[in-house]
Symmetry: C3
Subunit: 473 residues, 3 copies
């Protein structure tokens, strides 16, 4: 009985068409992006088992895009304490591996110890699903959902996170806010609105590892009466007081003594194989439709070159995560791409039709030019490993590598961000009639044809000198 | 033929999933909620047959939540004149009963007198559907839809209304605006932006019942030429002039001479029974799907304890109206809960993941603490009958009663507002592995287990001293 | 097999219901519309083959509605150069006919020359779909999509365009921005925020046709390195430099030498007939559902009186384009109506429930009154051919012609804009019970009945004196 199935597919297509292809954000009153800089983090919080570097959210480019950017470095056996934020975030794992727990409200504890195994303690543990992550993964964390993260590997976990504060899941305000359920964390963003207007630019501020006396109590339970907490948790007041983590100097990332004992599936070779297949699922199973909120997939790997969406052997490759391969992004209105641009290659000039693009340079460097509606280059320079550059919606951008490979991840403020190439096989230039090109650029027809048809690649092209290139140059 | 039905259910689930679970609002530039107060109304308009109390919409908590709050008291035989607003609103009936008419554009007049009955006048009346309401009802009124309200009972109708001015149905601005189709109403909100910044706080302003000479003409027809009105209504100019209600001193709520004669169904015992069953509909009939715009259900009772969603005999009960049981809320992006918290009980600490919560205290009082992302209590005090308190999105809140019962209604700025409990059986604490809790709070495993598992209830818990509680306390 | 079909229709209805009937915009902080004026364009850019007139986007009425308005006059053989904008736009063709090309990203070149025909050049041309337009057409152009336009007729093309800068497809800011892919265009909007506050009002500014030396390079390629462009387009640097159109004095609209040779279907009588039927499609085929993004219909004619939605022989006619007859408007959240109001006729008093209405007077004049929530007429005067007037959401409006016919097009900021008439057969007055009318306006029942039932028409009514009208006047 194929007919109802067709109708269903059609309904689904409509949903995707109507939802996935226009943004759900509102314009800012004024985007001041006459001049954009490639930025490094300018604030650092040092913790017991890691550091947190953040970019000043009051930079014009971040105010325009409505985002905040932060980078976590978690040492082996480091635990990032449970917290939630007023903004949905996409996290890209630059390095390392670990596990994360996302506690969805009202979902059952499905990772559970069996009673038969005779664990020595009175009560066996059970908790919500725990997910593994590794280098190249994108993790999607909705707004208001508490989550924690643990490095169970042998090298530091480095993760870059973009918080979409202008997202409509956030009804509060444009300040990125982290609410900690436990610990005695420091605010990782310093709101220094005036300093950003300082002509000398933002300063590097490294706050030292503070002494206990300087610390305050600042997790969520600090604002509640200890008696109320004792009553709510059905424990005595002495234990309830521990929820406040007073005089805790470990900061947002704490060290675990020994190894964290978690209830979680073993990781045999066979199971890893199955997991990999499940992750690649699109086409195998109707992706994401049968999953409920509680078991929603929130991780997708975009760093693996064998699964590239665009691949040009000499020039590089691109892989994108959006609401078509990670359905939870539909609600979060975010997506991301991972790009490796080999040496002497060009990411063809293009624009982002329906989203801002916040680029984090993972490795190497490239020359980048970003152009506004008046033909002015608002950015013309190098972007290097560890820097962030925002390409505003509709602005044109071109990237070119010289001797280095350039690897970057671009976070986009739409769950189905679309780019429009200006050159190449699937470009605006190809869409135009030759005579329109000839008239517009005042060219002979022959030149107009060359401009339109000469580049055979889409997205990426290699510019290493090779025989037969530009016979007329 | 079950299969298409399944597909249909699936499509529906998708709709609910994609629509119901993320908010459609945008963050404000700046939410100034470092200190929140429980507020009483500070403006009163006295009318011929009732009074209107309003809260200053320029209070920080209301600007942050993007709402305005007003309370209507309509005396028996009082008629609230037809008007519409630039913001959708949810109305909770605190007391009394009556009828309301909502005139949807283009819908037919379906309540009609039969010609055979030989009414004495030349033309029998016919008008759009009229709906009864009673204590505990929530009435959903979309933006731009004219409506009126009549008290046909023996006691005053008291109704609290939250106008969602920040809602996207409102394309105008953040000022709550009421457009009256008839009468000579007074503006119920005084826009006194400067006064709210006055350190002495907003003043109580009771405007006296004005003399005729002070009144102006201010319904919609006042701005139109009498000749145009005569032509549009096809009446003479003398009658057209009456549309302006000049020198009408009755205000927004007027008294009806005798009883208002309306075309409406009788209210026999049997019919009430049927109506009740229809209201409880969910599960019996596919709720709200077969209804068209014109016959949309707009009323749902949440005050009846026998239909509670959460019930803890010693602690109280909760009932919620959202887009799952009142489908029109899907477009209005609003929902509400009615809570009765018995004496010596705690509403467990929780946060609102995706909505602001605007609380109106119907009866009694409770101690309430509201905590921001820095662990500061932005509110720590009593909330008493007749007061309003806003709990911003993501802020943590705990409520505890002492000797009194505390009854309140919480209006929420999402049609599927979700709370995340921090303690209890379905809480974030339960979702965390015991070892994460032990590490985060620096506790022995035994204490971590107790913190996680000791409270068996969800949402509400009673704290009346009873045998066997806290053996170790 | 009718059942699944029903389910499908139902799903579709739900989509339309949930999407089409509430706006997706956010309110402005403050709408300053205490006084609205009918405005003429106050800025002109003269080009080689046409002129561009624009309205100051900083006028209060446009800031409130979040739109910008521009009028293009393209001479025969004039080509409007390819560009895209940060805002979606609706274009109404006031006069003339021509062709337009919209280049959707990633769509194939489907208008292609066959190789067998032996065209003399080496490579046959192929490009994306080209669409014809004519007087009375509305063209829907999404944000970020490059498009061009060519006048292949014998008279000037005059087109009025409303750019919805407050639309959520625009994540940038409230400034209307045009990004040109080619040429050396001038900015058609002058951002003169201070001047609009000048009590003397905005000035007429006619900028002269500039000398070459005054021109700058300002298309998108001007901000990119010539070497990068040469590499991206795989051409030599000399040709790449031509992309910058330096010293081009032709402006935004250029003249084509000879006739533009395009690959496009012939226009025989039979084919025109088929096209017309296809355009009228609704009811014949399931409108717009089978079309994909690449072949989306973007043009609908609303100027043809034979296809009117509302028709009153003596008073005029109305035709509307919205997401029900042009599905792409679903994403663009825009719609439009074309109205012809004959002499001595009234457009009945009404309000726009869920949208602003931006009116452009195509022909003739009328008296118009616009009323705010306090009963004040914020506009009371004549609107004449070539003027623009904004009617804010929820404000009441009445229009009356005297000796002239008044033809106008109203652009609306919702894809399913709804009006609510205050008088006539399908009005709020009809929805109210007679006794509510009598009480509200302090009228005898007989007068209340007359007010409710006397006008038999909806939308439009003629007021030419005729026998039997107002026997009692």
């Amino acid at each position: 009985m194929a007919t109802p199935h067709c109708f269903f597919i059609l309904s689904l297509s409509l949903l995707l068409l109507f939802h996935g292809s226009f943004s759900l954000r509102q314009p800012r009153d004024e985007c001041q992006v006459d001049r954009i800089n490639a930025l490094e983090p300018d604030n650092r919080v040092e913790c017991e088992a890691g550091v947190i570097d953040s970019w000043n959210p009051n930079e014009d480019q971040f105010l325009c895009a409505g985002v905040a950017v932060v980078r976590w470095t978690i040492e082996p056996r480091g635990l990032l304490l449970p917290s939630y934020s007023n903004a949905p975030q996409l996290v890209y794992i630059v390095r390392g591996r670990g596990v994360t727990g996302i506690s969805f409200a009202g979902c059952p504890e499905t990772f559970q110890e069996s009673q038969q195994l005779g664990v020595s303690t009175r009560v066996q543990d059970k908790h919500q699903k725990i997910r593994r992550f590794r280098q190249g993964d994108v993790i999607a964390i909705p707004a208001g959902v508490p989550h924690w993260c643990y490095n169970d590997g042998n090298e530091p976990v480095v993760a870059v996170s973009v918080l979409d504060v202008h997202n409509r899941a956030n009804q509060l305000d444009m300040n990125p806010r982290h609410f900690y359920v436990a610990g005695n964390p420091e605010d990782m963003f310093q709101q220094r609105f005036d300093e950003t207007r300082d002509p000398r630019g933002p300063r590097e501020t490294r706050r030292p590892f503070m002494e206990p006396t300087q610390r305050e109590c600042n997790n969520l339970f600090c604002g509640m009466d200890t008696r109320f907490l004792a009553e709510a948790f059905n424990v005595n007041e002495q234990l309830a007081r521990k929820l406040r983590n007073e005089n805790d100097v470990r900061g947002n990332i704490v060290r675990v003594e020994g190894n964290l004992q978690l209830v979680r599936p073993p990781r045999t070779q066979q199971e890893r194989q199955e997991q990999l297949q499940r992750e690649r699922g699109f086409g195998r199973r109707p992706n994401g439709l049968e999953e409920t909120y509680c078991s929603a997939r929130i991780i997708e790997n975009i760093g693996d070159p064998t699964r590239a969406d665009v691949f040009v052997p000499e020039a590089g490759h691109v892989r994108t995560v959006n609401s078509h391969n990670l359905p939870i992004l539909e609600r979060m209105q975010l997506s991301a791409s991972h790009v490796v641009l080999r040496d002497n290659s060009v990411r063809l000039p293009h624009l982002h039709m329906n989203a801002h693009s916040v680029l984090y340079a993972v490795r190497g460097q490239a020359q980048v030019q970003v152009v506004d509606e008046n033909g002015n280059a608002v950015f013309d320079g190098n972007v290097r490993e560890g820097q962030v550059l925002t390409v505003p919606q509709n602005f044109a951008v071109v990237k070119r590598t010289d001797k280095d490979v350039f690897e970057y991840v671009a976070f986009k403020t739409d769950d189905n961000a679309m780019t429009n190439d200006l050159a190449g096989r699937a470009s605006t230039m190809r869409a135009l009639p030759v005579e329109v090109i000839a008239t517009a650029y005042r060219l002979p027809l022959e030149d107009a044809r060359r401009l339109k048809f000469a580049t055979q690649e889409t997205t990426l092209t290699s510019v290493r000198p090779r025989p037969g290139r530009w016979a007329d140059a």
